[in-house]
Assembly symmetry: C2
Amino acid sequence: MAIKTKLILFAVAALGLAHPAMAADDPLASWNDGATKEAIIAFVESVSTQGSANFVPEASRIAVFDNDGTLWAEQPAYAQLFFALDRVKALAPQHPEWTTAEPYASILKGDLKAAFAGGMKDVATVIGATHSGMSTQEFSAIVEDWLATATNPVTGKPYTQMVYQPMLELLAYMRANGFKTFIVSGGGVEFMRVFTEQVYGVPPEQVVGSSGKVSFSMVDGKPVLTKQPDISFIDDGPGKPVAINLQIGRMPIAAFGNSDGDLEMLQYTCLEPQVAFCLYVHHTDAAREWAYDRKATFGKLDKGLDAAAANGWTVVDMARDWAVIFPGE
Amino acid sequence: MAIKTKLILFAVAALGLAHPAMAADDPLASWNDGATKEAIIAFVESVSTQGSANFVPEASRIAVFDNDGTLWAEQPAYAQLFFALDRVKALAPQHPEWTTAEPYASILKGDLKAAFAGGMKDVATVIGATHSGMSTQEFSAIVEDWLATATNPVTGKPYTQMVYQPMLELLAYMRANGFKTFIVSGGGVEFMRVFTEQVYGVPPEQVVGSSGKVSFSMVDGKPVLTKQPDISFIDDGPGKPVAINLQIGRMPIAAFGNSDGDLEMLQYTCLEPQVAFCLYVHHTDAAREWAYDRKATFGKLDKGLDAAAANGWTVVDMARDWAVIFPGE
């Protein structure tokens, strides 16, 4: 791992996870007192207290977390999309044809609206072209190097510093109460694993995401996994319960999301006859972060808000419920 | 879970895993003394002893195990294939067309050679037809019921009693030394998860296998995952390192297999520049189990034997190395 990335990642981990004094007093210190915080604590205590009517054995305490917009910021666009755009610029000298071929030509001119006029098809093309042609190890190294220097175009902060301090505390609090925490995100699984263990304390085998095809071959007597341009699975919307069933193989009892892409995961978790907890992060804080919901391009929360109201799921009002947004504030 | 299955599964688990007195003396009591047992112990001690030159931190102690032929018997054919054949017979009354349509007609007549003359294509057809059209929960219940009464056509024993006692001890021994044990098998992931936790002590989220398409829908306000007839991933051969990369996201440091279908998994684990251990179970005991290798229909071990010799991998000679084959003998 590149030294610079390591330093940034460890600094973030230290900011986010290592406040022993604070943790001893209040494991959710960055959450303001109120109904949201009370609901979280009531659920965690009820399933983890021996003798409680809602007690759940530790092996079944599975919690699933979306990443973009739930654990880290997703505005003005997904971090992984900025990574792909930066890769197009970095690779352009090797692809003279990109000066005229779309969507590359528009990306290189900085006209993202034209570049992605075709919608998800164009996004998939760019993701495929920039996330393939190298070994899985080489790809990880490229992401590490990028994370070490890339910054969010609005805040100027490194992406790994735009994780939500209250959610870092929530992850740690749930693990301290016997939960196994998984990330189940639309982001690329190999992209996320570069930072999820150090930033969130979630090990690689507990990260579920979208993926591209990978092929195995022996080259000069050495095994090589090579990333291919075809996308093989989109871990979003109905794909989330499908991936949970395939890769985790247990029904979660807690699910955390922030967009309509998380709706099916929350339905799967909370509309079964079981003790379960579902929470939506609602981005309501234009001053400290962003405010968006029903009409957002990235992280649209429309059907999900209605489903939360209808089903009594907990909704975080970021402006009201979070005393701190990002670590170190 | 059906009560009968539970009883059988618990009985097997008790036989296989719960010999505290024996474990205190020798955690690998069913392994005869000799080079194979010594090689296993030397590896496990070298990576788990603080200060050892080969010490590996606990989080990186990932061990992957094939299932068919490595953890349980696979002769005269895979258990899951017998399950599919039994399902064809059980479902035949609902499918009058099967009396003439192949491969079903031949299966119902008991002519398996004719049924599977087309090879894997016919097998996939039968697996697809018998493993789809129900919810994932319904499928688990069907497998449980089947395991409770089905028996191996040669031995007459329940399949879950045809697990290898030495491998149960090896799984427990590695976990006791900080390894996280995963199953990475060509078997269907939803088929295996019905018994893997109770029989092997491997939880659902550590079972990687082949899978069919699954679709999510809301039916009468309830979430349902429905199994579809299309096979989506074959976790065999080069698929094994691909699945390990996708679902575990770490390089294993120990890999256990018994056939050419495990070769790429062993290459991936042991031909990288890292401390690692690879082992093939060689079926050499026609008296107590089966003897087969280079020409077997199920569990062919040909290229793998050559690779083991060339690379110095450990090869279990079942007749020589295993004092006991099945639990309770």
